[in-house]
Amino acid sequence: NMRRIIAEYLDWSLATVSSLSNLSLQCIVNNFEERPIYEELTSSEKDFIQNRVSLSLPLHFAANVFPDGVYWKRCCEQKWKVCDVSNYGESWKRMFFERQLENIIELFVPGITEPKTVLDMVTLCKDHIKKLNIAQLLPPVKEPQTEDEEQASELTLANDDDKSGMDHFDFRILLDKLTNLEELHLVYKVKSCGMNFEWSMFEMTNRDCESLAKALKSCKTLKLFRLHLSHLEDKKCRLLVKYLLDHPSLRTLDFSHNVIGDSGARAIGKLLTKSKLEILNLYDNNIGGPGAKAIAHALSKNTTLVSLNLCLNRLKDEGGQAICKALLNNKTLLHLQLGANGVTWLTVLSLSSMLAQNNTLKSINLSCNTLGEVGGNALEEAMSHNTSVTECNIHLTDIEERRVSVINQMVWNNQFRKQETNPREKNTENAN
């Protein structure tokens, strides 16, 4: 009967009094820092608390009390505009701490920032860091030189010793403490440097390389290492590889967009024989025939590598043929990318003879090489006998249209036939 009074009593308030449990939960929220009552609550009560507690709680406190949940979602959304939790294994807590740490490292100025800031964060969150994607590494601040000093430095030849004053963040203090780290993406560059551009902002020093290599060795859970766009040349590549040999867990190595040459490629060939690498990406480097030969030699004895990307190097036919010959004995490689390497129909001939025997290779990329009619013919011949290749990229290879469509049709038939026997296999092309 009380409901009927609402219309007649003009100063009746519609707000109902909250239940006692809600009031007590609100009280807990208001005094959470002094008296954190959390573990004893039911899960819906815990959600209530996580939804309302202040976001300015000290981080070490919150990290210990709240497991992954709404609290961390709120933290992330408050700090960053774009939050896609699927990139972080559906864990908001992970996203928060990983991005925090990335931020700290990206803004670390060697010589000015205290390493303590990094270490403090690490102690809070070392169990939650699985992937680090660091998009910037700052060099130390250069003291403004007097005019005399400037003139002097212009006239002398820059040598390596001088550059040691430009060491970046030392990863040795970090990587051995991150006991769950599986992926590390690094790039030595300075975002938005504008008119203050200097080449040294976009490359490592020798000491950087050595400390990084030692740090990588100390991280025993690392599965993926990517160092791109950092002007990595032969000398530093060899140094890094030296410390990566026999790494227990490394499975993916990505050195794309660097300036690795034949000497570095030889080191990488050695790495292939002394590790369990599954994916190797050397896209956009400077590897030539001799380097490719070293890698091919390793490939012929390798049983773990699944995907090899050598696009946009200088392999030419010397290198291309070496790789194809090596695959005669290789039964594990599934994806091979040799696009934009200056290979011609000679390589295609090697490839054809290889395909006649090899029935594990699934995808081939020969785009952007001038294969011509002879190459197209050989490829068509090879594909007519092959049943395992389901992807073949021959875009921009100077083969005439009709032949291209014939080859594509044969590849499509292979793919379709496979789909029948293995329904709904995910179509993962190893694109960059």
Partner: protein
């Protein structure tokens, strides 16, 4: 049957094929952009190599030429040192100066050329950046299109998959019927189609009925609540009215019961009436007929009828259910099948008896010969012959469902008839004006009178203690007087 199912499977394969080729084509569009970028990069690299080579050559040449000139100048210095005559010294120095100037001029030219090259490179760099930006936009566009096209295709595939069970049933049973005699074919097909649609529409009809029923209930509840409140107030008012009248000595008549009659819903009564009306329409036929006892349904007959129903309508039972039931006994199978059938057709347990009777009666509606047959067999009292011909179960069930639906509809519609709103308005008006204007005036007058009366009474009540006091004093004084009188009497 195998032919049509195979055709369906092929259709599925076609769709899958289409989706795969769509995926491939769209992905290729996107990766082609990258390949084009690779090609440009290769061009740039080869261009850069050429430029480097050319520049290197030029610098080398220039260095050589410069070296020669410097040699000349050096030789000149030794000549200068030999000269002593002022004019010769002057001329030699002049020529030295010229040579130096020439060297510097060469260098400056070189610097200008290199600077011009640098400017060209800067422009190229800007152009390159713009081109890359456009390529990225193009890539994003194509990726977006890919998402849209693929999701459309997937959605189509999904809808196809959802329709699959019905299609297969339809196809398989139409083809089953093709094997039977063609006479009943069309009728059977129509009945089958009817059942399929009724199966599909079942949930929709159920939700419609549910919402209308919910609305009706709400309306009734509100009405009842309002009515209660109003009648309470009315009775209160009438009670007060009667009191006042009594007070004023007027005759008070209670308004008639018709006054308070509510045209609102009286649920319990109506429903019972409706049930009664529907039942007889089905059972009316049982009145006619021969002397054979028809109203009674032995449980045996019921079972037999239900078994027949299950067998004929078995196709409406899910495959999985049938497989699960296979190991059970025939009786149990029948009961479970019946349950699922009824769920599918939207019937309830209580309709079971009606359905059974209807099936039996259906035969009668077919024609004369059936009646004759029944008469013949009545003597033998062979119960099974009374059962409906299996081939007629489908149309019989269809008729029953139609009637059943109509009756349910009527029932629900009768509970809220085309509401006579004018009657209801009159009712509420009546109750609102249960105390008329005249009575109100009377009440006002009575109020005034009674107020005055109250004043008087209040005055009296105030004076009462005074009078009491005076009376007491009076008695006291009288007593005293008596005493004095009695005392004086003794003295006299």
């Amino acid at each position: 049957m195998t032919v049509s199912v195979e055709k369906y499977r092929e259709g599925q394969k076609d769709l899958q094929c289409r989706i795969m080729s769509l995926q491939k084509r769209l992905t290729t569009l996107v990766t082609n952009i990258q390949t084009a970028a690779d090609a440009k990069e290769m061009e740039r690299r080869s261009g850069m190599e050429d430029n480097c080579r050319i520049r290197y050559e030029r610098l080398k040449d220039d260095a050589k030429a410069c070296q020669e000139k410097v040699e000349e100048i050096r030789k000149g210095w030794s000549i200068v040192n030999q000269k002593v005559v002022h004019s010769e010294l002057q001329s030699v120095l002049d020529s030295q100066q010229q040579l130096c100037a020439a060297v510097i001029e060469d260098k400056k030219k070189l610097i200008r050329e290199l600077q011009w090259e640098r400017r060209v490179k800067e422009d190229e760099y800007l152009k390159n950046l713009r081109r890359l930006d456009e390529e990225i936009k193009l890539m994003l566009d194509r990726m977006q299109q890919q998402f849209q096209n693929l999701s459309k295709a997937y959605r189509e595939e999904l809808t196809q998959l959802q329709v699959e069970p019905d299609l297969i049933m339809m196809v398989s049973f139409l083809s089953v019927n093709n094997n039977n005699n063609n006479n009943d074919n069309n009728i059977k097909n129509n009945n089958l189609i009817f059942f399929f649609f009724s199966v599909q529409l079942q949930p929709f009809l159920a939700s419609c009925r549910y919402t209308t029923a919910a609305d009706a209930r709400k309306f009734e509840e509100m009405w009842v609540m309002m009515e209660e409140e109003v009648t309470q107030l009315a009775e209160k008012a009438l009670a007060i009215d009667s009191l006042i009248c009594k007070h004023l000595g007027l005759a008070w008549e209670c308004p008639s019961a018709a006054f308070m009659e509510s045209p609102g819903p009286r649920r319990s009564q109506d429903q019972r009436m409706m049930d009664a009306s529907v039942g007889p329409s089905l059972e009316r036929d049982s009145e006619h007929g021969t002397g054979v006892e028809e109203g009674e349904l032995s449980s045996e007959m019921l079972m037999k009828a239900m078994e027949l129903l299950c067998d004929e309508m078995g196709f409406l039972v899910e495959d999985k259910l049938r497989k699960l039931l296979a190991p059970m006994e025939k009786n149990e199978q029948t009961t479970v099948k019946l349950h699922s059938l009824f769920a599918v057709l939207g019937l309830e347990e209580k309709d079971l008896a009606k359905l059974a009777e209807f099936l039996l009666m259906y035969k009668r509606q077919q024609g004369e010969q059936t009646v004759a047959e029944a008469m013949e067999n009545s003597a033998t009292a062979d119960s099974t012959s009374r059962l409906i011909n299996p081939n007629n179960i489908l149309p019989a069930l269809r008729c029953f469902l139609e009637q059943h639906r109509k009756s349910v509809h009527e029932r629900s519609s009768l509970s809220h008839p085309a509401r006579d709103t004018s009657v209801e308005e009159a009712y509420w008006d009546r109750l609102g004006n249960i105390i008329t204007e005249d009575k109100l005036k009377l009440w006002d007058a009575a109020e005034r009178e009674l107020k005055q009366y109250e004043e008087v009474l209040m005055d009296i009540s105030e004076l009462v203690p005074e009078t009491e006091l005076l009376r007491q004093q009076n008695t006291k004084l009288r007593m005293q007087l008596q005493q004095i009188l009695s005392s004086t009497c003794t003295y006299v």
